[in-house]
Symmetry: C2
Subunit: 230 residues, 2 copies
DNA sequence: ACCTGAACACCGTTCAAGT
DNA sequence: ACCTGAACACCGTTCAAGT
């Protein structure tokens, strides 16, 4: 065994897959804005421009990163109970999007050329819905509401400061609610908002997980009602 | 009247507001990636670095742009029927996000420091819900589902190719569905997806507006049920 | 086939300087 | 107070060249 065996990973031959994987890890670690072609090449111990042999351009790399995230989502089975299967798939999606917080923002900017993982997932979800008795039209409707909700929730979870940060900020405000003129100004300008901030979110904190499930179940319940009615 | 009256708009004194407005227009016209400090200064007929006197940095400018978009959303009234008020607010949000397609993607990347327009809107929505009899807790739930859905839908509408593009692509595929080996491969690998693509979306096209309303009403109906039940 | 460095046309931002 | 250009440390990408 040669001593440079330890750097084998870094010295392994480049490939599109290895590049995409490294980009995902880099984005997870340092944020999406840290993913530059040069830094990525550094991480891979490659010359700055070597990546262009495997990846036509940065946009294509970003597409690959998105498909890698989609690949982490557990596809639903077509033979189980559709509700529990799609519930699992929804939380699986949320978790993948939590692990890779940069992914949601990436999806908007590019009009997607869906990768293989994405297509496979689409097929599984549609299959689950169709086998549960949804018409093609209703399956599309059901899919659309669910995905809008799931990705929109992820967007909020991403763009709103972390739950504990909210709690911290609010707690500090609530402590001197009497003396602090700022929160009185807030209460005057935005009474309902102040009510929510002071009365609810603050002391108890805010649980994104519970919130997610509330909306998810509301939607799944409503879909089940329409399925059995129609 | 002097002849340079026509360039008055361009020569008007700079201000944060004018800069933000120009940035929004530039993003609408040429996409968010065209919004660079230098190009923006050009548009305003100002020296390249003059903007920094009014705006601390680009991130702050982007925050301002987001708040400008939020300002275009019609806030719901607190005294009308909550369902119709919030329905109007939802479509108003969708339309604002359609006019400024770059906005959704911007929201993820920054953990928001909500601007005044955003706060005002939050307050109006919460007020509408509270006056309709929702408890604080339920108002938060109701708000969360709706916003997740609305912004998630906007995200999909943005990232999926335009409706007519889909129709075009699919139409072309459907025309030689017998002869084209690609779609047969698609049908083999992704049977349910192929079914949807060929059978539904293609000939009739896909109406994002109708789809949006389906999910919106599903959610509002479910919320109304819980309101009257609880 | 696989990898590379130099070079080009861009970025955001700082800073010292102009009016 | 308001605006500015030069300069710095970055980008993505092309291209001609190395093994």
């Amino acid at each position: 065994m040669r001593t440079d065996e330890q750097t084998a990973q870094a010295k392994a031959p480049l490939s599109r897959e290895r590049i995409v994987l490294a980009a995902v890890e880099l984005a997870d670690r340092e944020g999406i804005e840290a993913v530059t072609m040069r830094k990525l090449a550094d991480v891979l111990a490659a010359g700055a421009m070597s990546l262009y042999y495997y990846v036509p351009n940065k946009d294509d790399l970003l597409d690959g990163m998105i498909d890698a995230v989609k690949g982490e989502i557990e596809p639903p089975a077509s033979d189980g109970d559709w509700r529990t299967e799609l519930r699992k798939r929804a939380t699986s999606t949320r978790h993948a999007l939590q692990r890779h917080g940069w992914a949601v923002g990436l999806m908007e900017s590019r009009t997607q050329r869906p990768g293989p993982a994405n297509l496979k997932l689409h097929d599984a979800v549609l299959g689950c819905l169709r086998e549960a008795g949804f018409s093609i039209e209703d399956a599309i409707h059901a899919y659309s509401v669910q995905d809008a909700y799931i990705y929109g929730f992820a967007l909020q979870e991403q763009s709103v400061p972390a739950a504990d940060e909210i709690a911290d900020v609010v707690d500090r405000q609530v402590e001197h609610i009497e003396s602090n003129p700022e929160i009185e100004a807030l209460a005057e300008a935005y009474p309902y908002l102040a009510e929510v901030v002071a009365g609810y979110v603050g002391p108890s904190g805010y649980d994104f997980g519970k919130e997610f499930e509330y909306g998810l179940d509301l939607i799944l319940d409503a879909l089940e009602q329409r399925r059995t009615a129609g």
